[in-house]
Symmetry: C2
Subunit: 363 residues, 2 copies
């Protein structure tokens, strides 16, 4: 089953207790950004009484509340688990909240590695109260091993890559799509993570498939997205130098065989980010080193170019952001922007040029 099916009408109460914030609750933050009219309230006792905009800097007057009771008053139809902790298990302290919302008849939407629909207690509660549990990371059966079929698509394939996890690869893709669509380009979007699937309504969490099928899952997504677009934007995952997740990154590259890559980078980070500092021993590559790594590893299989830089400048002033963008352009010779702050027009223009060159080369 498509794990995103039937999510189009849900109104979410988002569980992000103790974690709601722009760095620490990607799923919650993305739901607020891309499905704002469908977020009823966010649970985080630390910020109770504030609005979502107070915490994130965007997202309007949606309330942040301290308890399930207050959240239910906002009229949600589903509880959305708003973070993806290392290891993927449901924190025990949150189980009580899940129990309460299932008992109140709310559906449950989760991107955790551990499938909540397989949890006997939660499954029983859902049955008793007529609720449905949607596990966004549940992957399709019968995935193939990749064999390069993505290269047979006529669409320009574009993959967002990054110097770290949680830097805006999905967001860059969605903002680029917006800018391309504004120029009349048909775009297919291949969602590869739980948040992208939540936003798009379809996709496969490539980090949850068996390792032999990472690239095969990506290949299938590209073939489907190519039916919907002349450009296919593939949501990237992880980083080639992330000790925990690099396998997902490379598999995704070889499955989607991008013609072009957009390199996403957090302007203020110097080391791989982790709330517990577990990766402080791994410095981030410079932008030019990262371009070399990504292009170098693709060259023997399907040569691909990094054609633009998407900087995440959230922690900088506007002047600081413009300076970081100018520095990135000087260092790499590539167009750069912060697609959230300044729009993705420069990247969209670059991709339209790349698509034009490719069509010309084929003609």
């Amino acid at each position: 089953m498509n794990p995103g099916a039937n999510l189009g009408e849900a109104r979410y109460l988002i569980l992000a207790d103790g974690h709601f914030g722009p760095e620490s609750s990607k799923t919650a933050t993305s739901a607020v950004r891309y499905l704002p009219e469908r977020v009823a309230a966010v649970i985080d006792a630390r910020h109770a009484g504030k609005t979502v905009r107070d915490v994130l800097g965007f997202g309007g007057d949606t309330p942040v509340v301290a308890s399930v009771e207050e959240g239910l008053a906002a009229g949600p139809t589903a509880l959305l688990i708003g973070i993806a902790p290392v290891g993927g298990e449901l924190p025990e302290v949150w189980r009580e909240i899940v129990r309460q919302t299932l008992s109140a008849g709310l559906d449950l939407v989760s991107g955790l590695h551990a499938f909540l629909g397989d949890d006997p207690e939660l499954a029983r509660l859902a049955r008793q109260h007529g609720a449905t549990i949607h596990d966004l990371r549940r992957t399709p059966a019968g995935l193939p091993v990749a064999t390069g079929r993505a290269a047979s698509t006529a669409a320009l394939r574009v993959l967002t890559v990054g110097t770290d996890c949680n830097v805006g690869k999905m967001t860059a893709g969605l903002e680029i799509r917006h800018a391309l669509q504004a120029r009349g380009v048909r775009v297919g979007f291949a969602a590869t993570g739980q948040t992208g699937i939540l936003v798009e309504g379809w996709g496969t969490a490539v980090d949850a498939v068996k390792a032999d099928f990472i690239a095969g899952a990506a290949e299938e997504l590209v073939l489907r997205a190519a039916r919907e677009g002349d450009v296919v934007l593939v949501e990237g995952q992880g980083s080639l130098t992330h000790p925990g997740y690099s396998g997902v990154t490379l598999g995704l590259m070889h499955g989607s065989l991008p013609d072009a890559m957009i390199l996403c980078h957090p302007a203020s980070r110097t080391r791989i980010f982790n709330e517990q500092g577990l990766y402080d021993w791994v410095p981030l590559p410079s932008l030019s080193e990262a371009v070399g790594l990504y292009e170098g590893i693709m060259r023997p299989v399907h040569p691909s170019r990094v054609v633009g830089i998407a900087l995440n400048t959230r922690e900088l002033t506007e002047a600081g952001a413009r300076e970081a963008i100018a520095t990135a352009e000087r260092e790499t010779g590539l167009p750069a922007t912060d697609p959230v702050r300044f729009g993705a027009d420069r990247l969209a223009e670059e991709l339209m040029a790349a698509r034009g060159s490719r069509l010309a080369a084929r003609a």
Copy 2:
């Protein structure tokens, strides 16, 4: 459970019908090479009446037979599925053979992705006849995401890497272990694939874990193997440029954080191998390109050197093999050998020197 547990006493009837051969039945071939006294017979109707040595060039007088009936006459205690087809499913034509052997009370040992112990019909037959089904690829619960813990081990960590799948990465590791042990070195072996697990009796099939946990699974294996050795040999998987399996390769690298790598290469191959030719579009990198790729991708995380070349020269004459080895040494400036044909002494010496330098650097 350790999937290799209790396999130490089994005597195998190996199912390799239509596929028994040095290129096309890695599990069967490795069982013959490393567990010769425990192979009762091999099923492949194409070669019925021959001995294993007739087909492989080694392995003694063990018979190749056409049918289960003939195989049972050789006194096996378990049926071993001898190949790992693309996609990992049990070919339908083999199911009847599995039914017959389970019904005869033989255990079943399988490295397929699809767990035969979860197949209702086969599980029922096993119960009825007192047989046990061992799925070598069944992975442990609760694997962590890798965080670099492998680097904390005092052992010299050595990973076999390759320019392709099925080139002898496990075999090179086992031959190097033999040569190191002959020099009095304590060696731990981290088996990462179904065949290595079969031979060693423990390990984790890293290609079968969920993608986020590839490196974490490798990290756990290294920590355990380091308790048994001053050198840890990690069985490599896939290739950085294999479109289907590269994610497994890179995850394994970042989980095991090797100090040294041995590059394995099939001397006669120029393209990624597949029986159906599915990867003919991907040329193999040259040895020096491959050294650059493997060292380059490790550099930002844990600098590692390729210290030797293990050539697979099976398709060459002895003179041709010696010439290929000399050419490899000239091209790379590294010691090279075919560890199966000429032993792994040169690689063992190089690793002892690497371990000596590392100890000296720490002192």
